[in-house]
Each structure stands twice: as C-alpha cells, then as structure tokens.
Subunit: 415 residues, 2 copies
Amino acid sequence: MNEALLDLCKRAKNIKYDIEKLTTEEKNEALVHAAKMLVERKDEILFSNNIDIDNGREKGMNEGLLDRLLLTDERIKGISEGLMQVASLPDPIGEILEERDVSSGLHLRKVSVPMGVIGIIYESRPNVTADAFSLCFKAGSAVILKGGSDAINSNRMITQVIKDALTDKGISPDAILLIESTDREVTREFMTMKEYVDLLIPRGGAGLIRSVVENSLIPVIETGTGNCHIFVDETADMDKAVKVILNAKTQRIGVCNAAESLVVHRNIVNEFMPMLSRALKEKNVEIRGDETIRETIECTPATEEDFGTEYLDLILSVKTVDSIDEAIKHINRYSTHHSESILTSDRENAERFLKEIDAACVYVNASTRFTDGFEFGLGAEIGISTQKLHARGPMGLKEITSYKYLIEGEYTVRG
Amino acid sequence: MNEALLDLCKRAKNIKYDIEKLTTEEKNEALVHAAKMLVERKDEILFSNNIDIDNGREKGMNEGLLDRLLLTDERIKGISEGLMQVASLPDPIGEILEERDVSSGLHLRKVSVPMGVIGIIYESRPNVTADAFSLCFKAGSAVILKGGSDAINSNRMITQVIKDALTDKGISPDAILLIESTDREVTREFMTMKEYVDLLIPRGGAGLIRSVVENSLIPVIETGTGNCHIFVDETADMDKAVKVILNAKTQRIGVCNAAESLVVHRNIVNEFMPMLSRALKEKNVEIRGDETIRETIECTPATEEDFGTEYLDLILSVKTVDSIDEAIKHINRYSTHHSESILTSDRENAERFLKEIDAACVYVNASTRFTDGFEFGLGAEIGISTQKLHARGPMGLKEITSYKYLIEGEYTVRG
C-alpha cells in the first residue's frame, strides 16, 4: 500500500461532506476566483508546462502528442473561460426529482446529491486537470486526479493555483487532489480504493479504458471509444449524404464521435460510391471496402478487423448491405454503442433504426459529430459514456450526481 | 473458458434485441401465462424442490436455511401472484424522459431502453428465480440466473416451466437462462462476461456481494448490506421512540433494513435507556453499549467492531453522543449507506440529518423498515442498492433500464 496515495484518498473522504455543504454561491465564487487566478498566474503555469515540453522532446515525443501537451496564453485563457462557464451553470445538487406520499402515510422526496469523491484517470492533456475539477466541484464532489506522467509539472502547477484559489475563499484545498506519483503500480492501487472513492471515470484511449475496467474495484463509467457508423439507405439524398459523411469523417479526425465506418445499401452503390470516393479523395481519406465496393471504385480491401476498428485517422471502412435489417445487424455487431446514423428518406426505416440500434446516440439524417455535451445543451461535458449503467452518452453535471430518498413520518412503524 | 457458459452468454446476447422488440401486451401475456403455468405444474416444482430439501438435510443444513429453500403450495401461489403483479405494472420502456430542440436545429429525445442482458447471482431462495426473471423480462432484458447450488433442482424446474410458457406464447425460451453448473470457477468466469452481459446484480449476504464486486468486469449494482442506525435526539418523544426502535429491530430480524445500531443523545441516556432496555428485554434483544450506556443499564460492552457490524440478529449496539454533529459523524463513519433515521422534535436537527447523512434512505421519525420497493410505491423490487452509481435505494423496474438519445436532423452537419 502506497502511503501517500492512502493519505490522499483519506483526505478526499474527510473533505467530501464539507464540499457537499457549500452553497451554490460559495461554489460559484470559488470557480470564478480560480478562473481569474489561472490567468493571473499563467507565467508559473507556462514555466511548468515548458519543463514537460522539454522532457517530452528529449524523450522523442511526436509533434501531435507535444501539441496536446502544450499550453499557451490562449489555451490558459480557454481553460479559465471553461471554469467561468461551469460557474454559470445551474447547481445540479438539491433538486427534488420526485415527491409523494406513500401508503404508510410517509412523505417521500427523492433529491439529487453529490457522488462524494470522484476519481479521474486521464492522459496527457493538462486542460483536463482544471476542467474535471470544475465539474466535480460544481457537482459537490471532491476530485482525485491522476493525469498522464508526461504532464506532471503542468498538472501540479494548475492544481496548486486552484488549491490556492480555494484557500483564498476559505475552502479546503483538498477539494482537488493530484496523484503525483508516476508509478503505474500506484495507479493500479488507486483503482482499488473503493472505500474512499465513489466513482472512477477514465478519459483517454481504448487501452487506458480497458485497464481501468479490468482493474477497478470502484464503480466505473466507461467513456469514449467510438466506432461510429453511418448507414446510407437506398432512399438517401446522395449529394447531402456526401456532405454529412465528409463532416462526420473529416471535420475532426481524432475524436470519438467521428465516423469510422460506412454501411451502404446495395441498390445505390454504383451511383453513390464514385461520388463519395471523389469527395473523400480530396480530403485524403483512404477507403477500405468490401468486395462489392471494390468492384465499383478503386480502394483497399476491408478485412473483418477493419469493421471493428476505431481508426481515429483518415480511413473509412465501407460495407455493402441488402436491407435495413442487415444494416442494423451489422452495426449492432461492430458498434461500440457510441453514435450511429442513418441517412434516409424512408420514415419507416428511420423509425426502425432509431428503435433497434443499440447506441448512446442514434441519429437520423445528421452527422455523428454532434454527440457532445455542449451540442446537447448540457452546458459542459466530462466525457461520453459508452456503457448502459448510470449515464449514457454525453455526461454533464447532472450525470455525475447521485440521489437519495428523504422520508418523513410521525414516529411511523411498519405493520 | 467453460463452453456451456459461453454458449449461454451468447444465446442471451443473441436474443436481447428480440425481447426489446416485444410489445407491452406480448410481455404481459407471457407473464400472466407463466404465472398460471407455475401453479398448474406445481407438483413438478414441489418434486424437484423435495430433492433439494433432501440433499440439504443430508448435508446437515440448518432449519433456517431449509426453510428458505422450501417451497409449498402456498409459496408457489405467492410466486405466481408476484408474476401477475409485475404484468400489471406500467411498461418502463419507451418513455420519453426529455425532449428538446438543440442549437444546431437538431431535435433530441432521451428515451428509456432495456439494459439488454442482466445477470443475477443469488443464494438459496428459489422464489428469486421467477421474481428476477419477471422484472428483467418486463424491463425488456434477457436474464441469466446463477442461483445457489443448494436450490439447483428447484431453480431448474421453475426455469423450465417459464421457458415452456414463453415458448407457448411464441417467445424464445432464451429470455430466461440458468447457469446449471455448481462449480465456483464457472461463477467467477460468468463475472468476466462483459462482452455479453450489461449489468450484474448480486443478491445475498455480504460475502457474496464482496466477491462479485471484487471479481466482476461487468458493471455491478451492489445491494443489500444494511448497518442501519437510529439516532434518538434529546427532544425525541421517548415512548414513541421505544416503539419505533422495537419495530426497526424486531419486526423482522434477518433483513437489510432492520436497525442494527442506536445512537442516543447524552442528555436523555439516564431517562431513556432504562425504558428501552425493558422493552428490548421482552423481545430478547441483547444490548451492547458504550461506557455511558453501561453506567445506566446492565448490558454487554460494545467494541469498535460492534459499531461496524450488521448483526441480522437480536442484538443492538448503542453509542452515546453529545450532539447532532457527533451523531452525524458517527453514523456517516459506520453506515453502509442503506437506511438511517433520526427521532427528534427539533426541526433544525431533522433538516441537518436529512441533508448531511450519506445514505440511500434518510428518515425523520420513522422506522428504517420502510426501505422497500413496495413501501416506496415502486410496485416491485429487485434489490436495494447501497452504491451511488445508477440507482440508490429500492430498485423497481425503472431502475433496471437505461436510456438512449434519438436525434433527428435534415442532413445536418457540425460547423
């Protein structure tokens, strides 16, 4: 047992009921103050970030990863604005979700309450440090953060600035706790701290998520892997379909709501695929097609493995189907249950797709790129759940709360 | 990998979308038919149950356990009535939970959907077999059951009767699947079947629950351990308080919502404890008290361990406190977050208790025994959750569903 880790977990558990008692105004003021302090102390943050960047360069980190790690004046301003925005959102705590008298004469209320202590395990983006804190704090919970070791200096400084801001406002700095050890064994131990941590959210690639699901004793919400499909039905408007597919595949390629696989009705393959192929070629997207597709356009062969792959790259697999039934079956088989879309003019097929596709977000005639807390009007997002327990799809403040029942009687006994 | 287990899990996953598509009427008719068949074929069920009882006797099972295992005409009638009742409940699937237009012009609906495949691991009560099936089926999910090996013959026959009833109604008998192996290794493997099972609910003692939490890769809802407290504040009506405590401790002793520990305000110990002690003695309840309590009445000393123990027996630990603050702190420390109650005439203290106690169900002036799906008006109960994720407290049909977002546009792309 790592003593520093145990101490951290105990501190979070000790402080959680104090955070729960903060008023909405106290929470908002602290968030606004932290937002200001992050900008005011940006030189310290940039200095720390520079150490991480130098270390990354030395280790031969590629430019993409270095860019994810990099902070700038502009990016710190963005982080600060994120905190301001969370401060402006409604408080998700204390809402009466249900209220009724029950048969025994008791009066029952179901009210939203904080989770308590939320753990977040994430990779190298240092902005997550402030984002995750702000959402957990507004939702009345303490947060224990375990960021990527490459960003340790940046994370440590951002955490320190937030701790100081909390202290300024008379709030315990233990509301945000950072696991500073870069030892993987410590991360593994953290996942067993069931007695201290109420919820664990992994944010990152498929490998990180898998490791957390396999090792955690703490309840987990799985996030983020998206092998998203678009089904082009035979009645789709082909010109518009090309635009939606381009948007879903290329607007941002490294994100979980980008399209990774296309399913096309056999009746339109000959007309549609050449149109699409030209448009995708302009955007440097490689098509990997099944046999039917390869008879129509020039492309790489798609293997069984392709249909199950989240590329996060300029690649799109394409599968031909004979019917909506085959499309639904194929998608439900290879889906990571994130976001799936049908492009069609047939209302009956649209209804069947909505009903029968097993995913957090099912679209008719829209790009999968809309799966996002802000786009859904949640005001913020801590991740996109791909499991069915607790929360599904984009998670905002409400999705990281729990509830309890408050029951009042007059010395009432059960008969 | 156990081949029979893998086959079972695959069958559940294959059938889940067919169950999801059943109409409310189809589900209800099947439940009513199964209810009738259970009574019609009760001789077969009693014959199988008799084998389990004989085996239990031979193994030297105690009378309490034998009674839990035993089925009678009356009990089978009760099981059948349970199915009829589930048939009469509203369908939890397809409800529109939220609906709005979002900024991009998309129309968004959030609708309740089935979990898919639910696994239930339970101990020796064979009635759970039919109960759990009926709730999962009504909630649109396939169920995989792993009952206690002592009840294997009873469970097998009940499952067979239900399978036959489903077949009569043109529904796949795979909607209910029973793991027949009594090998513990198979149970452990079942808990790793994340690819096939969406939710796992353990029902039973603390040891079973712990084993599932520690070994499962499938999302789990923890149920049932209740170290429930009653805090008698200095302003409590003492006569009425005695009645509530008697009810909470002795109305049924082996249940999770029974009171296990009392917290008493120091200012009333001298007057209250002798009253309570006399009443509890009549019911053969042993008191284990702290030093202050032992100065007032004759009783066993309470150790630190006592305060953390769910006795499920005629024992009650008693702790003295100086204030509501100390009471809340003590309870939050030893609570299993199930049900906690305050007896008081002080509104301010009642409010603080409701707000600051961290439990699924927090009571003012009522017995903890009310924590129950039927008492709460849920119409049914599959267990009582003691975790914060997904569902907390009594779980009915709604609590074993998930949701998805349905989003419709007009070939809408993200800008």
